[in-house]
Subunit: 323 residues, 2 copies
DNA sequence: CTGAAAGCGCTAACAG
DNA sequence: CTGTTAGCGCTTTCAG
């Protein structure tokens, strides 16, 4: 019944199969997993499955997993090291065959080490671990080109004539957020512009942060005020647009706004958001594909980078002297 | 180690516990599950985890599950009976302790029966099954008041002075969609208005459907044209607004638009969407709470209805004779 | 209170 | 090709 290559008379096989259907027999996967040391369970550790960013990745993971007969477990860490660690341990105890870390590394003393301990334990038992973002764990990683995307977007704004471009950063303890900031800075430096620290605002990858940033920007004296705002992610960009709207500023006439991520709603907001598109579902798919390959003991690359693309919509416009 | 009530000398206990930590021993959950006939695994069968509707529910499920030491498995059915059934069988084989059907029943001949067979098998083994929408399965169900919400919203539009109110329906094979349509019709009938079949448009719970409906509505001669459009879900409403925008119609000045669901992006679109708010996460939480209660052999109500509320934002306005 | 043993349902290995 | 058996790592039961 396990359709192995074990030789068995065709008549006998049919007889067994028939009896199985008649009795409604189906193998107990738990017993099978226990015996075979393969649970056919994989897990995605995400920050929050209700966050469209993670939801898309998870969808990619689940798709590939189910295509290959694996079940997918969701783990919401809420970016709390304790939760993440607890999940990983539970997964280890369930003998999960693989774990995908969808978010970046969580910055907390000794968390990385504790995580690594469990990871090594799992690896030594034959499990495969993959990260889908820059991470401290020394495991294969599939990543999206956050740096390149941020640089490309900033360069595009420069091409549009903008010179004072604000950046609303993400949580400083998130690597992804920092890398995007780096990309923004790189583009400015490459263009021979100096970095104005007043134009780098703190955000939190959420709408509120963007809203606050918008109001902060309004406080900047007009001669130093940015003509474009680049938000580290789409949620923040939505917040920025909302905040701007609250003060009666029109986007993109008064100021250009762009984000990073290309969430589905980027096309629904008004004006439609210019943003950097990340192949999120593909990230989940590729990650899972690699994970399954690793499970088959295939060699997989330590790092794969998926390209991001600038998608210009209506929230950005060329710089014009007078408003 | 299983912290049971089994009497054991405190000294011995400590010795064992100490040895366990030293050796890095942790119980194998698979073996434990096999032996105890409880996997501590529950599953949420959703249409698509990347759909914010399901994502929110799942989040509620996962929260409660993890609080109680359960792992959550995601299953995307894409509303395909075959997929749903396949998942359910797999879950049965994994001895999942519980399954939550997040979406409504899938309309296909004999699907209901096949599903029920597996459900009964699982129930007889002690598993708990719950639905989070109207369903053909005879299992406890937690639902949101779709009928009441649709009726309340329609009534509100009537209060605002609208008399010709269009309804963009959802997929006719989805119970939720039909119930909302019923609520809309009930409100009109209660108000003593006759139903105009031309004002009931077909949609598909997606943006495209809404967009199409918007264009269709524009074709209606002005004297019969609706002054408000009630979309069966938010995605459709976004599509309607988009379609209206394409034709240069202003919402809510030219026409009022409202949706159903209160997705996060309802607050981000412009104008912000008036909609019926569903306690999605609560639905997931309550459902899981009941499921766990059932697992403890507690009596749980066959049907619980969670209230929905009309949230008025800026996409609706009182009816005005001249535009 | 402790130690030993049976068995959950499977797979892999071994004789026949 | 078929039938039997040992164990995967637990929990539960039963003697001591």
């Amino acid at each position: 019944m396990s359709n192995s290559s074990y030789p068995v008379n065709i008549a006998t096989r049919e007889k067994v199969l028939k009896a199985a259907t008649e009795l409604g027999y189906t193998p107990n996967s738990l017993a099978r997993s226990l015996r075979s040391q393969r649970s056919k369970l994989i897990a995605a550790i995400v920050g929050d499955n209700a966050d469209p960013y993670f939801a898309e990745i998870m969808r990619g993971v689940e798709d590939v997993a189910s295509e290959h007969g694996y079940l997918t477990i969701v783990c919401n860490s809420d970016r709390q090291p304790a939760k993440e660690l607890h999940y990983l341990r539970t997964l280890r105890d369930y003998r999960a065959d693989g774990v995908l870390f969808a978010g970046g590394a969580l910055n907390e003393p000794s968390h990385a080490q504790r995580l690594e301990e469990v990871v090594n334990e799992m690896k030594s038992r034959g499990a495969a671990i993959i990260t889908l973002a820059q991470h401290t764990l020394g495991v294969p990683s599939i990543q999206t080109d956050n740096f390149g995307g941020a640089r490309a977007m900033t360069t595009r704004l420069l091409e549009l004539g903008h010179r004072r471009i604000a950046f609303v950063a993400g949580p400083s303890n998130l690597t992804v957020a920092n890398v995007r900031l780096q990309g923004y800075m790189a583009a400015l430096v490459e263009a021979g512009l100096s970095l104005d620290p007043h134009l780098i605002l703190t955000g939190n990858f959420d709408r509120e942060g963007g809203q606050r940033a918008a109001h902060d920007i309004a406080q900047i004296p007009v001669e130093h005020r940015p003509t474009a705002i680049f938000a580290a992610n789409d949620q923040t960009a939505f917040g920025v647009m909302l905040g701007l709207g609250e003060m009666g500023w029109r986007v993109p006439d008064a100021i250009s706004v762009c984000g990073f991520g290309d969430l589905p709603m980027a096309q629904i907001v008004f004006p439609q958001l210019t943003t950097v598109s990340i192949p999120l579902r593909q990230l989940g798919r590729t990650g899972t594909l690699r994970l399954l390959a690793a499970l088959r003991n295939e060699e997989i690359p330590p790092l794969e980078v998926l390209p991001t693309t600038v998608v210009e919509r209506s929230s950005t416009a060329p710089y014009r002297e007078a408003l």
